[in-house]
Amino acid sequence: MEVAIVLGLPLSGAILLALVGQRAWAPELNATMSFATFFAAILLTARVIADGPILALNEQFFVDPFNVFLVALTAFVGFTTALFSRPYMRAEQDRGRLNAARLRLYHSMYQLFMFTMLLCLLSNNVGAMWVAMEGATLSTVLLVSLYRTPASLEAAWKYFILCSVGIAQALFGTILLYFAAEKVLGAGGGALLWTHLHAVRSQLEPTVLSLAFVFLLVGYGTKVGLVPLHNWLPDAHAEGPTPISAVLSGLLLNVALYSVVRSKVLVDGALGHGFSGGLMMGFGLLSVVVAAFFLSRQRDVKRMFAYSSIEHMGIMTFAFGMGGAVAAFAGLLHMTVHSLTKSAIFFTVGHASQVAGTQDMASIRGLVQASPTIGWGLVLGTLAILGLPPFGVFTSEFMVLTTAMHEHSWATPFLLVALGVAFASIFGKVQPMVFGESSVEPLKRGPALVPVFTHLAIVLALGLYIPPYLVGWYRQAAALIG
């Protein structure tokens, strides 16, 4: 029941906003729908905590500890981003970069995007998961090119082509998975249900499954932003509107990683841990190292933080690849804190670029002086994402590093060097942006900083003290992942 509400709300929101999205009160409607979705997600979470995993609607939807916290996170970040986008988009409209018709498209696609991501998370049917991922790509493509500048068109084109190719590979992987499943479970819809596949996973044919996993990793990994399939990510983040950058970094990458991990659980049953783990560790490590080095060469602030997203997704993939209770716990925690921190950073950066009129880091100076909330928000966000204690990112990175040192010590130097390089680059670039003489004017409308500080507060709280029910929750999810 709750599942239907959680899914139905964004879908109806999309339809509604498609009709009235150009009105002046559309952003408020957007935020309200997102809040309602968040509320329904909380109810769903409470139900799962109380009753355990649930199968809904003829076994088509499955909610267990792993995806329910992601659902809650998605709905929460969706809500706060909708709050953020209210003044932000209005400011963009004032600057003349958008008109009412495009805002209508933006609002309805935003809700549609939320719907597809929640569908992907909640679905028990691996085919429906695929359809939802493709839907997520399609709904954001037109949003990346919203400003209709040459650069944004190029970014959206790259995004579309690369992600579509990736999705086609994932489709092939899904078909191979079905191929193996059919032998054991028989034809028909039952063979696509994850719970059924999970039950018989040791009986699935190993060769087919290994090939299927490779395709699924490459396909969904394109959307996670794993190197070398990451080319779309920096452009899409830099050229799209900031709320879209925030949800792409904060939510889409997570959901794609979720799909990869779900597939990994199935494959591990047939092949044992080594194959999939090795692949994921390899890709993860490659992403971390490459992203850290590219990071240092960026001049556009959003591109830099986009590469930071790639780096963090690499850390998460590496963690899930390592496997084991601690690493999986770390991966899940990192998913949460990264999502919150990165979206907070993008909120501040968005306002900062609005204030300065440019995204070029060399031209933004003295944010603290011009607009203290933006400046300090950026400082705190940067410190958080760089993994400084007492923020939550430090906890998860620490756990990943110690597990790596224990079990895979060859990888530790790479990780440390990459993290160090990223630290130096980001810190070195952000510091002149926030401190010193100001070259920018304050915004006419007040910036929306409540979401920023809420996120950062949660991340701080998670760094200092993780509530026991949350720990138990993560532990259960980690146990599922294996």
């Binding site: 399609l138 209709r148 040459p150 790259k158 092939f172 032998k183 034809a187 696509l192 044919e205 060469r297």
Partner: protein
């Protein structure tokens, strides 16, 4: 040692599919590309019907109907309309010349056949060869997307890739559940529509659909 007639028919259709993928790789003109794509859809429909008739799964007939209406009729029509409105009639230049592209294509075919051999052994006799050919079609379409300079052939390459995947779905696994196939078909249609919208935006901005105009974002 001869296999039953239906197997031979499926093999012939699979070989035709591969041939069309290569023909697309070597084609210079956009109109011919669209026609080849329509033919590929027709071959896909025919193979689905043969498998449906042999195995008796009625769902596959519906799937064949969807493929026919979408990939043979609707999407080529959309592409034609797009080309008319954008006045596209070029002889396409490619990034590497055509004989080299063909040789790389052969390499990809060998690679996919080698990759698919262990899977083929699992499959029934009806569809033993088709997984390899489906994979080869996917890789060839991918190659086509990489070597083309203009936007429309890249899109057709993407659609051809979907065709290859669909071929694997219908012949290697005797069709996926119908609801899911509907979802995929819808996705493909929406993707094509969005591509179409895209082209107009690109054309507005750049006055050309040459991809080289869109290579400026190369800071790294």
């Amino acid at each position: 040692m001869d296999a039953p007639f239906s197997t031979q028919l499926v093999n012939v259709l699979a070989a035709l599919l591969l041939l069309i993928a290569f023909a697309m790789l070597s084609q210079r003109r956009v109109l011919t590309l669209i026609k080849l794509f329509a033919w590929q859809g027709a071959v896909l429909t025919a193979s689905t019907v043969v498998v449906a008739w042999t195995t008796g799964y009625t769902d596959l007939y519906i799937s064949a109907g969807i493929t026919l209406s979408l990939k043979v009729i609707l999407i080529p029509w959309l592409l034609h309309r797009l080309i008319d409105r954008l006045f596209i009639r070029w002889d396409i230049e490619t990034l590497i010349n055509i004989p080299t592209t063909m040789l790389i294509g052969i390499g990809l075919v060998i690679f996919s056949f080698a990759l698919a051999t262990p899977i083929s052994q699992m499959a029934s006799t009806l569809t033993r060869s088709t997984v390899g050919i489906a994979l080869a079609t996917v890789l060839l379409s991918f190659l086509m997307m990489i070597v083309r300079r203009k936007a429309v052939p890249q899109v057709i390459g993407f659609l051809a890739m979907e065709n290859g995947v669909f071929f694997a779905a219908t012949t290697a696994t005797f069709g996926m559940p119908l609801v899911w196939e509907l979802g995929v078909a819808l996705d493909v249609l929406v993707a094509t529509l969005i591509f179409g919208i895209f082209f107009f935006h690109i054309r507005e901005q750049f006055e050309s659909l040459d991809i080289r105009h869109m290579e400026k974002l190369r800071q790294d």
